[in-house]
């Protein structure tokens, strides 16, 4: 994907909030879609970055996370790639089942799947693509940062 907006982040969980805010300020949409953007996309992107840094890159500060965001034909798409070995997304248990409800971890992927219209992984499992459909379209202010 040729992202309209490209960020390369260090593996530092303190950078997540600023990075998400940076992307959000560049995504503008009509008021009917604002909640889907503010809640669904924001939380989904936060979860993807958290997973990339905590599990993908195993908190290794020498590894980077690539974020590519693009808006095309009413689809806001974010692709997050880490430098880890990848994982099998089908192996993640349902965090809402009674035996998992009191566990402190395991809700990130679930929230992504609940909040985004499409969530897909590459074969290696180190790249997730999130899609939010914006029925009334929207504007993505472009830019490239390294």
């Amino acid at each position: 994907m040729d992202g309209d907006l490209v960020l390369e982040l260090p593996t530092d969980i303190r950078s997540i909030e600023r990075a998400v805010e940076f992307v959000m300020t560049r995504c503008r949409t009509c008021s009917e879609q604002a909640r889907r953007l503010d809640l669904n996309f924001r939380v989904g992107l936060t979860e993807a970055l958290s997973n990339a840094m905590l599990y993908g890159n195993s908190r290794d500060p020498s590894k980077r996370v690539l974020v590519e965001v693009a808006l095309q034909a009413g689809r806001l798409e974010a692709r997050v790639t880490d430098q880890g070995i990848g994982f099998d997304p089908s192996s993640v248990p349902d965090p809402t089942s009674p035996e998992n409800l009191t566990k402190p971890c395991g809700r990130g992927l679930f929230l992504m799947r609940q909040l985004l219209d499409e969530v897909s992984f590459n074969d290696q499992g180190n790249q997730v693509t999130l899609v939010l459909r914006l029925e009334s379209g929207g504007i993505l202010e472009g830019g490239v940062q390294a």
């Binding site: 809402t96 409800l101 402190p104 971890c105 809700r107």
Partner: protein
């Protein structure tokens, strides 16, 4: 982004300002556990000034609730906005916590 801790009628009230996410969850956990170790048993975490919570933030609340219960105490939550309610409902954590509409309601009869 920050946490304000105060005491109200024997209850420890923690107000979360900004977001509760992976970057600051440990700070909240540490503050509450310090109060727990100091003998506090009744906790209210208020989200009136909170934008959003990610899965790490939800996980910390689950973890703290468990630790507080193990010490014979209770953790209540309050003032979830519509978005936060959605996250709790999606994850079914609304069934795990006692959630009040306001901090005053959470403090009542605690």
């Amino acid at each position: 982004m920050g946490f304000e801790v105060s005491q109200t009628g024997g209850v420890t009230l923690v107000e979360v300002e900004g977001q509760l996410i992976v970057g600051n969850r440990q700070e909240l956990k540490q503050q509450v556990l310090e109060q727990l170790e100091g003998g506090d048993r009744k906790f209210v975490i208020d989200f009136a000034k909170t934008g959003y919570i990610d899965s790490s933030g939800l996980g910390v609340l689950v973890s703290l609730s468990k630790k507080i219960r193990e010490q014979g105490g209770e953790l209540r939550l309050s003032s979830l906005n519509e978005d936060l309610h959605t996250l709790f409902e999606l994850t079914k954590l609304d069934t795990l916590f006692r959630i009040a509409d306001s901090k005053e309601q959470a403090l009542e009869g605690f």
